[in-house]
């Protein structure tokens, strides 16, 4: 993956820039020694690394504003960073950029149960938002797999989802307001603790803009009352087609599960070896979870199992207790770890229309043979968000490149059948060059015009999202 050549005029001015940053931040909040900047050289897309010019860790909106103002004046690119868990390289620095980490801003500022919201600083982790309200019976719905570590700032930047978004939506559906700092240091607020905001939906525009429009320092999030209970049913099928048809029938029947998770044979086998979850050895496995009171769960699961039986499942296992639920989820939750045990892997994130599931899975199987790399599929089937895991050996010359080419072909297939390149991880650098497969030049141009309005000098996370050649004229000053 190509990154722009660092601007030598910025590299030459490193000591001056660091000195200026030290005038607005305490010494321990400006990280500039080479050994220390290495900690910020990559995010969870570890194949790509580059230490930044320096990293700053402001502790308040005012400090963020002061930092951005200096960088704006100095013409230095800024790469905002939450917890650095991006799988797409969203927080990957360039040598001439300042990493702006929000990790020190993790306070809960306000909780309001009457109006069902929480206001937090955005360095707070996703899970600890729920942690702040769960003793009172509430939760924050978006639940990306990295929720223990990932920050709300990154969730907003990438519009993160999770397993339960079929019912509760993704970040954008649960975000009520933000305090944001523009690249020139201007602090602004969008939305608030009410359900619709005035004027254009700038909140919707900010969410998912990958840190390219502003740095969000505070967020007002919708919290929801916890359901009385939840239980899954596990079902095994002897073909992907049948499992896909079953998903479609469940949705058509009017039941709205909170999650429908799909695993194919390679993943089932890997997780069995790894976690011993007791899954049946079959082609495709679904975990369908519903919520409510005991009686409501019984009724919904009854209906779901009745539909499943029409598709001749090889296994149908309804959880009757918390222990059985945990056992059913165990394999799914350890799926990534299990695949990682076999080899290095690359996790894709394309979304497809649900009706195309069987076709896409078959094509991925065929491509796997052509490229000579194994692939396992585990994904959110209810909304068509796939997560093919391509196995490769990072130590074998050429394997990463083959893997990337294979991944790119899968993502092009997702677009071809009416889907998109990324459902919840974001574009970052990983899918940047594939954007031309999904968007016509005019459609990309208009998005770049939006960035022109918020960040005319293109200093915020400039080398992401758009293909480098498409953004070159705007980035070069």
């Amino acid at each position: 993956m190509e990154m722009p050549t660092p601007n030598s005029r910025i590299l030459e001015r490193k000591s001056r820039i660091v000195a200026r940053l030290l005038t607005v931040l305490p010494a321990d909040a400006v990280i500039h020694e080479e050994v220390e900047t290495r900690a910020y050289e990559c995010d969870a897309l570890t194949a790509y690394k580059c230490p930044p010019l320096c990293a700053v860790l402001p502790a308040s909106t005012e400090e963020v504003s002061a930092v951005l103002k200096i960088c704006h004046e100095e013409g230095v690119p800024v790469v905002p960073r939450g917890s650095g868990t991006s799988l797409a390289g969203g927080a990957l620095p360039t040598a001439d950029s300042v990493i702006l980490g929000v990790a020190r801003m993790n306070e809960v500022l306000e909780t309001d149960y009457d109006n069902r919201f929480i206001r937090v600083q955005t360095g707070r982790t996703n899970l600890s938002v729920t942690g702040a309200v769960e003793m009172d019976g509430f939760f924050y719905a978006p639940d990306p797999s990295s929720q223990l570590a990932c920050a709300i700032a990154g969730n907003i930047a990438m519009n993160s989802g999770g397993a339960h978004c079929l019912k509760y939506g993704v970040t954008t559906n649960n975000l009520l307001g933000v305090k944001m700092v523009l690249m020139d240091g201007t602090v602004t607020e969008i939305g608030g603790a009410y359900l619709d905001s005035a004027g254009y939906d700038l909140l919707g525009l900010i969410c998912g803009s990958e840190g390219q429009l502003g740095v969000v320092t505070e967020a007002t999030l919708r919290i929801l009352p916890k359901p009385e209970g939840a239980r899954p049913v596990l079902m095994g099928f002897d073909s992907n087609e049948v499992a896909g048809a079953c998903v479609s029938d469940i949705i058509k029947a009017g039941v709205l599960p909170v999650a429908i998770e799909f695993m194919d044979r390679p993943v089932i086998r890997a997780t069995e070896t790894f976690a011993n979850a007791g899954y049946p050895d079959c082609e495709a496995l679904l975990i369908v979870e519903v919520e409510g009171s005991e009686a409501e769960i019984d009724e919904q699961l009854g209906l779901i199992m009745e539909i499943a039986r029409k598709h001749n499942p090889v296994e149908l296992r309804e959880s009757k207790s918390a222990e059985e639920s945990a056992a059913i989820w165990l394999g799914r939750k350890s799926a990534f770890g299990a695949m990682g045990q076999i080899n290095d892997y690359m996790c894709l994130d394309g979304t497809i229309p649900v009706s195309q599931l069987p076709y896409v899975l078959r094509r991925i199987g065929e491509m796997s043979k052509d490229y000579g790399l194994d692939v396992g599929n585990v994904f959110h089937a209810g909304d068509g968000n796939m997560h093919p895991l391509i196995l490769f050996d990072a130590n074998k010359p050429g394997d990463l490149e083959t893997c990337e080419a294979f991944g790119a072909e899968i993502l092009r297939l997702c677009v071809e059948v009416g889907g998109c390149l990324t459902g919840e991880h974001g574009v970052g650098i990983e899918k940047r060059d594939l954007m031309v497969d999904q968007f016509a030049p005019d459609d990309l141009e208009v998005q770049m015009k939006v960035k022109d309005v918020f960040d005319p000098k293109w200093l915020l996370n400039p080398s992401k999202v758009f293909p480098l050649e498409a953004s070159e004229a705007r980035r070069a000053h």
């Binding site: 990438m158 978004c165 603790a193 359900l195 919840e424």
Partner: protein, 370 residues
């Protein structure tokens, strides 16, 4: 009146004109007419593009009547989750509401509290910007973070950034049963407390409204539960118990009556025959009673648990002035006040900047949202 029949025809019309255009769907929502004389209607761009009930996905052309969309969905026992209102009776307009109009104004009904707004169900748009360029964003899948979310930006932009030609939605199954808990005689303040308590319960309230003057002239608080029959019965009982002593409670489960009751709320019928300016105020629910005290309306309705206030005011009242010190914003749908709440300077600058990019000739609904 310009009535393009295809997206290409529309794009050409916009490319070739420098004259301001008033963009219209069915013209039933009484949009701020702005300053343009020439009307461009999307009513010629009508029809279903794609409907996959098993994938909960619907794609339609923007000029399609809402009634047609709802009928197509109803045939598969599905619906638009956000329950768009019909403005005709309230605003005294006529014509056929279009789905593009719903999107342009981000019109969302009582189910907003549980299922989200129009913008939350909208997953894709095609539109023609002020340069006459055909643009698309989003698509037909419900999880999509590829590039900037211009779908949200288009939703609620009242035709000022582009003319919508096609819209895609995530749709939802219709519910099997409905129960409405009706509580008589509460004050607005008490009603908001009751609604907050209900909305904070695990019983999935899909509507929470209050009128100081129900069909029989007395105050009524309304809480709606939807789902499978047994579940609705269970939750209605459990919620009633959880609410405690709130006054006289009646549970209505008749399908026709509950449907009619929530259409009455959705379309704000109680304010349609009252004279005066019409305001729509969005606030933090617990602030609603203070707003009512501050503005002292002739008639009002609370929806969204108090978060949405519909108010009829004596002609010429400056509601925004009276609301000072309380957060939120007020839209004036009928009256002499400017329609949209003035924005803070930074947001106004950003909005103007976006508008200049999408419509450099300044021909799309000039004067609207300005």
């Amino acid at each position: 009146m310009l009535t393009p029949r295809t997206e290409d025809e529309l794009a050409e019309m916009i490319r070739e004109t420098n004259a301001p255009l008033r963009i219209q769907g069915g013209g039933t929502r009484g949009f701020d007419p702005g300053t343009a004389d020439e009307v461009l209607t999307t009513s010629g761009l009508s029809g279903l593009e794609l409907y996959e009930p098993g994938a909960l996905t619907l794609v339609v052309k923007a000029g399609t009547p809402v009634a047609e969309v709802e009928a197509v969905l109803a045939a598969e026992n599905q619906r638009l989750a956000f329950e768009p209102m019909d403005h005709r009776r309230l605003l005294g307009t006529s014509g056929e509401p279009t789905i593009g109009g719903v999107v342009a104004a981000n019109v969302s009904g009582p189910r907003r509290v549980q299922a989200g707004a129009c913008r939350d169900s909208l997953i894709g748009v095609r539109f023609v910007d002020g340069n006459g360029t055909v643009l698309k964003n989003g698509g037909r899948v419900m999880k999509n973070v590829t590039g900037y979310d211009l779908v949200k930006l288009a939703c609620g932009s009242y035709g000022t950034l582009g003319v919508l030609t096609e819209v895609s939605f995530k749709v939802l199954p219709k519910n099997e049963a409905t129960a409405v808990i009706l509580i008589n005689g509460q004050s607005a303040r008490k009603a908001v407390q009751t609604m907050s308590k209900a909305l904070a319960s695990p019983y999935e309230i899909t509507g929470a409204a209050y009128t100081p003057s129900g069909l029989d002239g007395h105050p009524v608080t309304m809480l709606r539960l939807e789902g499978f029959a047994a579940s609705v019965t269970y939750r209605a009982e459990a919620l009633t118990k959880a609410l405690g002593d709130v006054g006289e409670i009646h549970i209505e489960t008749d399908p026709e009556r509950t449907k009619a009751g929530w259409e009455w709320v959705r379309d704000v019928h109680s304010l349609s025959d009252v004279a005066g300016d019409l305001w729509r105020i969005s606030v933090k629910p617990s602030d609603a009673p203070d707003v009512l005290e501050a503005i002292d309306p002739k008639a009002y309705l609370l929806d969204w648990g108090g978060g949405l206030i519909w108010a009829r005011m004596p002609s010429g009242t400056d509601v925004r002035q009276k609301m000072q010190g309380i957060g939120g914003h007020a839209t004036c749908l009928q009256g002499r006040a400017s329609r949209f709440h003035p924005q803070p300077e930074t947001l106004a600058t950003l909005s103007a900047g976006l508008r200049a990019k999408f419509d450099p000739k300044g021909i799309l609904n000039p004067g609207v949202m300005a």
